[in-house]
């Protein structure tokens, strides 16, 4: 949409977002800063800002569509030149166009992670290597990647966050006057009443001059060793992995000094740069959930260290008493009413011995093993299993089949055509490969970690059953994540990861909280999976809810916590997600809520005992 005025919004006309603008200028000054992530809520102007960069450089902003395929991004065989004169050439790809320009990726969190990783790698290397089908090629690509992301809608694993040189946050301004001005300018500007919109273009010329002056100065800018040492110490302090964080901080500091016309990096340059380059790479101490540095969710929970968590909760537990341990439970576990002594160790119950579990998913997916494990691949990944007529779209040429298809017509074509090719191929001969790839799964365990699970060491059994299910279900390709819910602490303690070793660790450290916000737990899972399934359409997703159903905190004040949870469950079916409910109730604590819940969710229902494969 070259004529959309938003594409040409002038950089100088953008209000606020100072850090983001500064980061962009740094990247334009110092070519070593190659990847930039702008995080912020939707509508805060991330895209407008990224596109406005075209107004201060001679570079073009090349957009990466979210549904981009490997072939479109990196390039693949150019079918036209092949048919024309038999030459094997790379077609025009997004990254070829990016060379010397600026790449823009909207909603980076929604792009396939593997593709994003490869993209970040290529931008960082400055070289793209294509080894696809019949093409082997390598081309240079000097570019800056600007990506945006709305952290409320999607997230990136820490290992990908680490790949961004710079990450900045943008916020919608709170000041109503500024908001009104932005809205007004946007309206007039969109209506095309002013060619240059809020600025007259003079701002842009100034900025261009600043950038070229800074570029010229950059090689002369020095950074005192003392500050370099400070950067290293900072990186250590925040447990940043590898050296990229430090190098990026230095490169941004140098650019900031150059933009300011200085030959030496100052402390404040480093401070600014560290915020841009170190903060998003920080890992939490004791690094339990390695995939995400801070599991901050929209409920406002920040992931403190587990230890603090446990202590805090144990206090809460003592204060509020054992409301959860109702008479039923007492009846079940001895009426002598032994005071339940809650120590910190109790709150983090050990993982019980795992057992031979049944395959809770196989029960759902009937069909042969092979059918369950592989699906038709929609890109050119996966194992080739046959050929079919080319229908347009991705070309994944099956050479033999294509030549065979063309063979019967060669005699006639040779007569009719002026081509001197030995084999004349026409579009209708072209055959594409059919490929199958292995299905991937995501298993999200949603664990009720409320106080009632402390009775009779039930949590120990819950942990054991999760481990047992994992041992049964997990293949190397699956992703496994954990949501825990309890009063005031409903969070994704382990974003879906393939690194099951860390899942085991998180599980071992999972602590018990207070009362049971079942609705909140379900709601959290639902919202998380809604965006997750959208992002991973090829993945089979399962949410395995493990609860005793003793909900006692509603989402809406005054509502019946159980009725509310069941009503919500009715609305939570979604394509691409299958629910499984595992009832942890035993003896008197057992009730019919989990089973009702399973019916509402259209879920398979199991008790803890059902899981054991006898």
């Amino acid at each position: 949409m070259p004529d959309d005025p938003l594409n040409r919004h002038p950089f100088s006309g953008i209000h606020e977002m100072h850090t983001a603008k500064e980061a962009i200028l740094c990247a334009l000054v110092n070519p070593k800063i190659k990847t930039l992530l702008i995080q912020g809520a939707s509508g805060t102007g991330k895209t407008v800002l990224a596109r406005s960069v075209a107004s201060i450089t001679d570079r073009e902003v090349v957009n990466i569509p979210l549904n981009v395929t490997d072939e479109q991004l990196f390039g693949s065989l150019d079918v036209e030149s092949l048919l024309r004169d038999g030459s094997v050439r790379l077609n025009d790809s997004v990254l070829i166009r990016a060379d010397g320009n600026i790449l823009y990726l909207d909603d980076a969190g929604l792009l396939d992670h593997r593709l994003l990783k490869m993209l970040l790698g290529s931008v960082d290397d400055g070289v793209v290597r294509v080894e696809r089908n019949n093409v082997s090629a390598e081309y240079l690509m000097g570019t800056v990647l600007i990506a945006s992301m709305n952290p409320l809608e999607s997230s990136l694993p820490q290992t990908i966050m680490d790949d961004f040189d710079v990450s900045v946050q943008v916020y919608g301004p709170k000041d109503p006057d500024i908001r009104i001005r932005i809205a007004e300018e946007n309206i007039t500007y969109r209506d095309g009443q002013s060619l240059f919109g809020p600025s007259n273009g003079i701002g842009e010329i100034d900025i261009r001059l600043d950038i070229s002056a800074a570029r010229a100065l950059l090689p002369k800018v020095a950074i005192p060793t003392m500050l370099m040492r400070a950067i290293s110490m900072l990186a250590r302090k925040y447990r940043v992995q590898g050296y990229r964080g430090e190098l990026a901080t230095i490169n941004v500091s140098l650019a900031l000094a150059a933009l300011d016309g200085r030959m030496e990096v100052s402390e404040s340059d480093v401070e600014k740069a560290a915020l841009m380059c170190i903060y998003h790479r920080k890992r939490r101490p004791k690094d339990r959930t390695k995939e995400e540095c801070e599991s901050k969710d929209k409920y406002g929970n920040t992931g403190e260290s587990m230890l603090i968590d446990v202590i805090r909760r144990s206090d809460a537990y003592r204060e509020k008493g054992n409301e959860d341990a109702t008479d039923d439970e007492a009846a079940c576990f001895g009426t002598d009413a032994d005071p339940i002594i809650v120590s910190e160790e109790d709150l983090v119950m050990r993982v019980g011995d795992s057992f031979d579990a049944i395959d809770v998913i196989a029960e759902i997916d009937k069909g042969t093993y092979a059918e369950r494990r592989s699906i038709r691949s929609l890109n050119s990944r996966g194992k080739s299993v046959g050929e079919e007529e080319y229908q347009g779209g991705i070309l994944d040429l099956a050479v033999g089949a294509t030549v065979r298809a063309a063979a019967p017509f060669q005699h006639r074509r040779e007569k009719e055509s002026a081509s001197d090719m030995a084999v004349i191929i026409e579009m209708k001969d072209v055959r594409n490969r059919v490929r199958h790839e292995l299905r991937r799964r995501t298993l999200l365990f949603v664990i009720d970690a409320s106080g009632s699970l402390i009775i009779g060491s039930r949590m120990t059994n819950v942990k054991a059953s999760v481990m047992s299910m994992l041992e049964k279900l997990h293949s190397r390709r699956d992703r496994v994540g954990i949501v825990r819910f309890s009063e005031g602490d409903t969070e994704l303690i382990m974003p879906p990861t393939k690194h099951v070793e860390s899942v085991a660790e998180v599980l071992a450290n999972l602590s018990i909280g207070d009362r049971t916000p079942l609705s909140e737990g379900l709601m959290f899972t639902y919202e998380y999976m809604l965006s997750y399934t959208r992002k991973h359409p090829e993945e089979e997703c399962y949410a395995i809810v493990i609860t005793d159903g003793r909900a006692n905190i509603p989402l809406r004040e005054g509502a019946d916590p159980i009725d509310e949870a069941l009503e919500l469950a009715d609305k939570m079916r979604m394509p691409g997600l299958k629910w499984i409910v595992i009832d942890t109730g035993i003896g008197y604590s057992k009730n019919d809520v989990p089973e009702s819940l399973s019916r509402r969710l259209d879920a398979k229902y199991y008790t803890l005992d059902d899981l054991k494969d006898n």
Partner: protein, 342 residues
């Protein structure tokens, strides 16, 4: 050694284990490659690529796309073999071995090879066009993020790594060619584990950790910045040390056939593997080979206990039995104890 613009191996700060594992493989490619595990951005790729400068040149059949070894007719491609059996005179040339990279996005066809489409269209003849497994013959094959590679590509790698030959049976192609390479893989365990079959296929494994010492970190960064600001100049500056190092590697390669390993040393190598509860023989063999290469690098003709000690962890760590969902860890104390009691 060409104009490879890669960070000089000799200027890498620390990461001694990783450098050692790479060198051992250069000295004796039969060790079976190395898997490098480690956190993000710990310069794993930089170091792997840096070996381009110190890789040896080898004698190869002139003009052969697979750079066949003139001294080993059995390892030659079919074309070279038929030339030899026809009594043709084979000219040799020096071939500079290199690091061939296998990108994650590579497809089956480009990895194992396919029909040369340009040739078939223009000449009407079917001709095989080798893929990366062909290019990799006698070279180093580097797979970054090897744990993220698609399974069917991993299968291709496994087959070649096991047999030294790539068999292509697909579509209208039926072809085989030598494919012996030093497989180097890097991975970040956080992003998923490696298939056990592939894991065992790597001769050695090392785990790299970020440098904790601030002074060392500072040195790493200073060198990196210096390199980035003028790569050619930096390499030129390091060239004397690179050449010296190349000689050292060359000498070790030449010395390797002379290196002896006593019965006793062989016994202690096997005892170490048994002590760590390893059943397969791959660990024994790799350990012995690596110990010999280590001796050669030390310019020694005999394997001593220190050689075994210094390479044991690399040969054994990734073959330890582990419980599900647990990372196995290698106990160096125990190794020490085991070796002293022998």
């Amino acid at each position: 050694m060409g104009g490879d613009i890669v960070f000089p191996f000799t200027r890498v700060v620390g990461q001694e284990e990783m450098k050692k594992a790479l060198l051992l493989n250069i000295v004796d490619p039969a060790i079976g490659g190395v898997l490098i595990r480690g956190e993000k951005g710990a310069a794993k790729s930089t170091i792997v690529r840096s070996i381009a400068h110190i890789l040896p040149s080898v004698a190869s059949v002139e003009g052969c796309v697979f750079h066949c070894d003139p001294d080993h007719p059995k390892r030659m491609c079919t074309q070279c073999q038929s030339r030899v059996s026809n009594g043709e005179k084979i000219n040799t040339e020096r071939y500079q071995t290199r690091v061939v990279e296998l990108p994650l996005s590579a497809t089956e066809d480009r990895v194992s090879g396919t029909i040369d489409i340009e040739h078939i269209l223009k000449k009407g003849e079917r001709r095989f066009e080798p893929g990366l497994l062909g290019t990799a013959n006698r070279n180093v094959l580097y797979v970054d993020e090897v744990n993220l590679l698609d399974d069917h590509i991993v299968d291709l790698l496994l087959d070649s790594a096991a047999m030294g030959v790539n068999y292509v049976e697909r579509e209208d192609v039926s072809f085989s060619h030598p494919s012996r390479f030093v497989l180097i893989g890097t991975m970040n365990p956080e992003e998923g584990s490696l298939r056990p079959q592939l894991l065992d296929r790597f001769g050695l494994s090392v785990t790299v950790r970020g440098e904790e010492d601030v002074d060392h970190r500072l040195e790493v960064i200073k060198r990196r910045l210096e390199f980035d600001s003028d790569p050619e100049g930096y390499i030129e500056d390091a060239m004397p040390e690179i050449l010296e190092f190349r000689d050292l590697v060359r000498r070790a390669i030449d010395l390797l056939p002379e290196v002896d390993i006593s019965d006793r040393s062989m016994r202690s190598a096997v005892a170490v593997c048994l002590n760590f509860g390893i059943e397969g023989h791959r660990a024994d063999i790799t350990l012995i080979r690596a110990a010999k290469a280590n001796a050669a690098l030390q310019n020694r003709c005999e394997v001593i206990k220190e050689d075994i000690y210094s390479v044991a962890e690399m040969a054994i760590a990734h073959r330890l039995k582990r419980r599900s969902f647990e990372e196995a860890s290698f106990n160096t104390e125990e190794l020490r104890r085991c070796l002293t009691t022998l």
